[in-house]
Each structure stands twice: as structure tokens, then as C-alpha cells.
């Protein structure tokens, strides 16, 4: 993909840890030593099941949480050591699209206020030309001038999500965290929003962190993919590579569990069945987190956590069993 500039890292996440205290004695390790780099213009997919820490990672990056340990660098600057002015600039350049469009828009604000407020705050428009700018933004996401004075409850789910996207893009950001932007939408609407995100990326030169649990969607939209399990990274590679050649047993299970919309393929496909459920992230043992459910687990897997290592150029995996 030529639009990605692999010489220019935009975001660097280094050894990010986010622990939450549970009672006095326990800690929930939501994100545990996660590191990756996002380059300008690319889409990085982050997949995993609920509770694997994918949203927490995204939220740390936009400073919604203060991480327990580790660094997040945006254009080489530590985002947790910015002065007031840099801070404001950071929040203009980094935006977020939320999962549930029904709860992420203020029900008491009109669409104009929702979209225009950020622009005004960052001096991108004046009171005089705010209407004009908001309409321009609405056109971009497929809505029009009539929608400007309405309230969120007057819209369908797909339209609300468009408003959420317009709000995020109104301040001309460089980087957008899309946290499950389509999972609350109907199937026929999902494609509309997905196409729109891709077009806007091309037009505005955006970089995305795309968080989702639906692997087919992530594969479609991402350049590279991080697979997470219980707070740790298990595999990291280019999208095509992960699908063609999944190395971690968990990635293989995840891929084989996707219901395929093709009855003939379903009958032929061999499925890897995994027993049990995701264990608790509270005080996890110092071992491979997937060991309990892994069909290939050995003694070594239960004794020490495998480090993430590069097994092929650009393909990282954290597993003792992989050569």
C-alpha cells in the first residue's frame, strides 16, 4: 500500500501496561506490556475477544486513561508529558469514534453543536462561518443541511454513527481511534460506514487504529493487525500474512471460529475447536495466557510467558511452540 509511509512513525506504544485495582489486594491486568508502532497513513487493526484489552489500549492512546507503566509517543513526544498548549494540539490531532452511536452523542445538543463545538474550540471556524463548515462536514459523511438543527434521537443508528464520525473528523485530526465503529449497526448499514471510513482516509490522509472483534472486517480495512488475548499481544503482522499464515494457536482458533457465509465452504472446512472460556484477567499467572485452552500447550507454556519475537520479517508472535 503506497499511501503508508513506513519511515514516519506517528504513534509509538512502548511497553504499555494498564492495571486496575480490584479491591485492595488484586490487580486486573487489562493491558500488559503491549508495544507497537503506527505509521503515517496506515490502518492498524486491533482484534481480540471481549476483555482482551483492545479498547483499553485505544483509550490509553487518546489519554482517556493514564497508564500504569510504559510510554506512548505521538510524533516522538511523550503524550503524558505535554504542556497545556501541546495538550490542546494533541486533542485536535487525535480523535476517537465510539462503538455505540446511541450513547456517545449528547441528547440535548443539536447536530450543529455536536459537530461545531470542537471546530470552534480549536479556532477552525468562527461564529459566522460555523454553519457553512458544519454543512460541509455533513456532506462529507452523507448527510445534509436539513439535519443540522435536529437532535440525535431523530436519527437512525447508521446516521448517528455518521454524526459521530463527522464530530471526530471536524477538527481535521491526523489520527483516529475507531473503537468498534460498526458493531452496533445493521449488516446492510455496516458496509456504508466502512466504505465511508475508507474514502475519508484517502481524502484526508488519516491514520486509523481500528479496534474490532470481527476479523473479516478488520482484515478488509487494515494494513497490519495486532491480535490480543487477555491483555497481551499474541501476534502482529501484515493483514494478508496473518490470514494466510497464522502462527499463534489462538489466532488459528479465532480464524477458524468465524462463521463463514458460504454453506459449502462450511461443510468442507476443518474447524479447530477450543475448549473453555477466557480466564479471568485478575492476577494472571506468569505464564502463557492461552496455555489453559491451547491444544499444543506444554510444560514450558505453563512456566513462563513467551516473549513476542520476530519469526519472519514483519511477523511477530508470542508462542513457545512456534519455531
Amino acid at each position: 500500500m503506497s499511501r503508508v509511509n513506513y519511515d514516519e512513525p506517528l504513534f509509538e506504544v512502548k511497553d504499555l501496561c494498564q492495571y486496575f485495582p480490584v479491591g485492595r489486594r488484586h490487580r486486573l491486568k487489562a493491558v500488559d506490556h503491549v508495544s507497537f508502532t503506527i505509521y503515517k497513513g496506515e490502518t492498524l487493526g486491533l482484534v481480540g475477544e471481549s476483555g482482551c484489552g483492545k479498547s483499553t489500549t485505544g483509550r490509553c492512546m487518546v489519554k482517556l486513561y493514564k497508564p500504569t507503566a510504559g510510554q506512548v509517543l505521538f510524533k516522538g513526544r511523550d503524550v503524558f508529558a505535554l504542556n497545556a498548549e501541546e495538550e490542546k494540539r494533541f486533542h485536535k490531532e487525535v480523535q476517537m469514534i465510539f462503538q455505540n452511536p446511541h450513547s456517545s452523542l449528547n441528547p440535548r445538543q443539536t447536530v450543529k453543536d455536536i459537530i461545531g463545538y470542537g471546530m470552534k474550540l480549536h479556532g477552525l471556524c468562527t461564529d459566522a462561518n460555523m454553519d457553512e463548515k458544519v454543512v460541509e462536514m455533513l456532506h462529507r459523511v452523507g448527510l445534509n443541511r436539513d439535519h443540522m438543527s435536529r437532535f440525535p434521537h431523530e436519527f437512525s443508528g447508521g446516521q448517528k454513527q455518521r454524526i459521530g464520525i463527522a464530530r471526530a473528523l471536524a477538527v481535521e485530526p491526523e489520527f483516529v481511534v475507531c473503537d468498534e465503529p460498526i458493531s452496533a449497526l445493521d449488516v446492510s448499514i455496516q458496509a456504508q460506514v466502512l466504505n465511508m471510513l475508507r474514502e475519508l482516509q484517502k481524502e484526508m490522509g488519516l491514520t486509523y487504529l481500528f479496534i474490532a472483534h470481527d476479523l473479516s472486517v478488520v482484515k478488509y480495512i487494515s494494513d497490519r493487525i495486532v491480535v490480543m488475548y487477555l491483555g497481551t499481544m499474541v501476534e502482529f503482522a501484515e493483514a494478508e500474512e496473518i490470514y494466510a499464515n497464522p502462527l499463534h494457536p489462538y489466532t488459528q482458533v479465532l480464524l477458524s471460529s468465524i462463521p463463514v457465509a458460504d454453506p459449502r465452504a462450511v461443510r468442507e472446512k476443518k474447524r479447530i475447536v477450543v475448549k473453555g472460556e477466557v480466564p479471568s484477567p485478575i492476577d494472571p499467572p506468569d505464564a502463557c495466557r492461552f496455555a489453559e485452552r491451547c491444544p499444543h500447550a506444554t510444560e514450558a507454556c505453563r512456566k513462563s510467558a513467551p516473549p513476542l519475537r520476530e519469526v519472519k520479517p514483519g511477523h511477530f508472535v508470542a508462542c513457545h511452540a512456534v519455531e
Partner: protein, 344 residues
């Protein structure tokens, strides 16, 4: 697979169900007819608001009446018995014992103040099963749905269980009386993929063991492909297309079904390929369009589509479709265009 000769356990004809609201009457289900056969898995697929859940709640009369009401020609026959005219008291005999229901969200469909065991045994209340016998059957069903340590789980409360485990309990409640039909309303939508695969396998296994017929409501075509024998595609309160799973996927006849399939990203979708969304939004059921409900979003819509509802055309045994394009005077179109073979 296809059990053509199998008897119909449920016959629904001209089902209409509407709700009176302050905004007017919402016609949720409009003239829906279908049969369910012994031992089959029938899938109902459609978007939110297409009437799939209301249709299935009608079978157990779970929709509140008022504000809801049946249309005058509606008929639901379970083993020859008319359901529509039954009183609530009579329905109690059928719910749970004859027809079980698996709800979408296991987090909210279990009673948080009752132990798992008590909730399962509740199915037997007033049905002449003694305490010890009820417990024995509850433990038996817990084992059958794949719960480890049933004795311990029996005494636990729902909050002590994980999502997948709760859904297993919900399935256990639906199965414990060995009903002849199970209605599963989006049973896996709120679960993770690896757990979803486990639950779907479980449902299929139970069907094979006990021979229950299952109506599976979902919006996920992947789940349909994996599970179902026959499929109904619903749109705007009507059945758009019906057929065996192979007919629906490989001999798609309705533009809406084709649109659904083109709009989903699969693992084989190439990066540079654009998804083809269905433009627009589903129809307003307060004032449903007089013609085909899909006409406003259909790229092949003709004048007649807006004016008169299409009749159902029989295309093959089992395969029927409601679309004016199948009329002898209509232009021939290739619905597969846009993905794969049809692309120029």
C-alpha cells in the same frame, strides 16, 4: 438435511401482528406464512425491525396484547392446535413444555436473585414433577449442555457465571422439558466468536440427540450458513425469499438477499475491492409502502414495485421469492453482479 416428507410441526399462515402506539399503528409483521418441520433448523434472517423477533414471539404469544394485536386472518397451528385464540392460561401449558425460547442476551434473561438450579426447575412448576425428580432432570440437562461440575453450578447465581456459561444455562432452561420446538432469538449475538462457535455446535448437537426443531433468528449470514436447513429472509415485515440454505446462498433470487451478501466483508474480500452497501434505510412501518417494501432501496426497482406488492413465485421445490423481477415480463438481471463471476 432436506426432509421433504417430514411432517409440519408448526404451520403459520397469513400472520399479521401490529402494535398501537401514540404515533399510530406499527405493522410489524405483514402476511407471513411458513411451516416448521420435525427436526429441522429453520433460519430467519433480516435486519433489526424486519419483524423476525415479533414473528417468533407470536408463536408463544409473548407480545403484550394490548398494545399489540393479531390481524384477523392470522393463524398459528402447533400440531394442529390454533395458538392465536388461546388464552394466557392455556398458553402456560405450551410455553416451556412444548415450545422453548432462548433469548438474545443471557446477561438479562436470567433472574439474578435465583440460583441456576431453581431457575431450571421453575419450568416444572405446576407440571406434576416432584422436587427430587426435578433436581435430577436439572442436573442431567446441565451436564448435557456441557457445564462442568453441575452440582456446584446448580447452587450458584447467574452473576457467578461467565457469558458463555450463562447462555448454556439459558439453553438448559429451554431444553429441560424436552420441548418439540425451540425458538432461539439471536442466541450468540452477545458472545465472543470462540464461544459462539461452541454454543452453535451445542445447539446442533442437541437437535441431533433430541430431535427438536429449532427456529434460529439471526442477522448473521455466517451463522445461517453453518446451522440451517432452510432459510427465510425477512424484510419490512414480510418474507422476501425462502429456500434451502444452498438455494439462498447460490441461487439467490431476491435483490435484498443478494445485497446482503454483497455488503458483508469476508476473509476472501480483497483489499481494493469495494463493499457494495445497500443504500438507504429500512422502511417506516408506521406507513409501510403500498408496493414492495424493498423498492426504495432496490437498484432494479420498476414502477410496479412501488405500486403493488409482488406475489410469491415458486422457483424450485422449496425455493420461493417475492419479487417483481421474476414476473415473465420483467427484464432479466444478474443479481450476482458486483462480486466474483458477474464482474466485468
Amino acid at each position: 438435511m432436506a426432509e421433504n416428507k417430514a411432517e409440519n410441526i408448526l404451520e403459520i399462515s397469513h400472520l399479521e401482528f401490529s402494535f398501537r402506539t401514540y404515533g399510530g399503528v406499527v405493522k410489524s409483521v405483514r402476511d407471513v406464512s411458513f411451516n416448521l418441520r420435525q427436526g429441522e433448523i429453520l433460519g430467519i434472517v433480516g435486519e433489526s425491525g424486519c419483524g423476525k423477533s415479533v414473528t417468533c414471539s407470536c408463536i408463544l404469544k409473548l407480545n403484550p396484547e394490548p398494545p399489540g394485536f393479531f390481524g384477523k386472518d392470522s393463524s398459528i397451528k402447533y400440531k394442529g392446535e390454533e395458538i392465536v385464540t388461546k388464552t394466557n392460561r392455556e398458553m402456560r401449558r405450551i410455553r416451556g413444555a412444548e415450545i422453548g425460547f432462548i433469548f438474545q442476551d443471557p446477561m438479562t434473561s436470567l433472574n439474578p436473585t435465583m440460583t441456576v438450579g431453581k431457575q431450571i426447575e421453575e419450568v416444572f412448576v405446576g407440571r406434576g414433577v416432584t422436587g427430587a425428580e426435578a433436581k435430577r432432570r436439572a442436573l442431567e440437562i446441565l451436564t448435557l449442555v456441557g457445564i462442568n461440575e453441575p452440582e456446584r453450578r446448580y447452587k450458584q447465581y447467574p452473576h457467578e457465571l461467565s457469558g458463555g456459561m450463562k447462555q448454556r444455562v439459558v439453553i438448559a432452561i429451554a431444553m429441560v422439558a424436552k420441548p418439540s420446538i425451540i425458538i432461539a432469538d439471536e442466541p450468540t449475538t452477545s458472545l465472543d466468536v470462540t464461544i459462539e462457535a461452541q454454543i452453535l455446535d451445542l445447539l446442533k448437537e442437541l437437535r441431533d440427540k433430541i430431535g427438536t426443531s429449532i427456529i434460529l433468528i439471526t442477522h448473521d449470514l455466517g451463522v445461517i450458513a453453518k446451522m440451517c436447513d432452510r432459510v427465510l429472509v425477512m424484510y419490512g415485515g414480510r418474507i422476501a425469499e425462502r429456500g434451502t440454505v444452498d438455494q439462498i446462498f447460490y441461487e439467490t433470487a431476491h435483490p435484498y438477499t443478494a445485497g446482503l451478501m454483497r455488503s458483508i466483508a469476508t476473509l476472501d474480500t480483497a483489499k481494493d475491492e469495494k463493499l457494495v452497501p445497500i443504500d438507504g434505510t429500512p422502511p417506516d412501518l408506521f406507513a409501510p409502502p403500498p408496493g414492495c417494501p424493498f423498492a426504495a432501496r432496490c437498484e432494479y426497482a420498476m414502477k410496479v414495485c412501488y405500486e403493488r406488492p409482488p406475489k410469491e413465485t415458486q422457483l424450485a421445490p422449496e425455493h420461493r421469492c417475492c419479487c417483481w423481477l421474476l414476473h415473465e415480463k420483467a427484464p432479466k438481471v444478474d443479481l450476482r453482479r458486483g462480486r466474483g463471476e458477474g464482474q466485468a
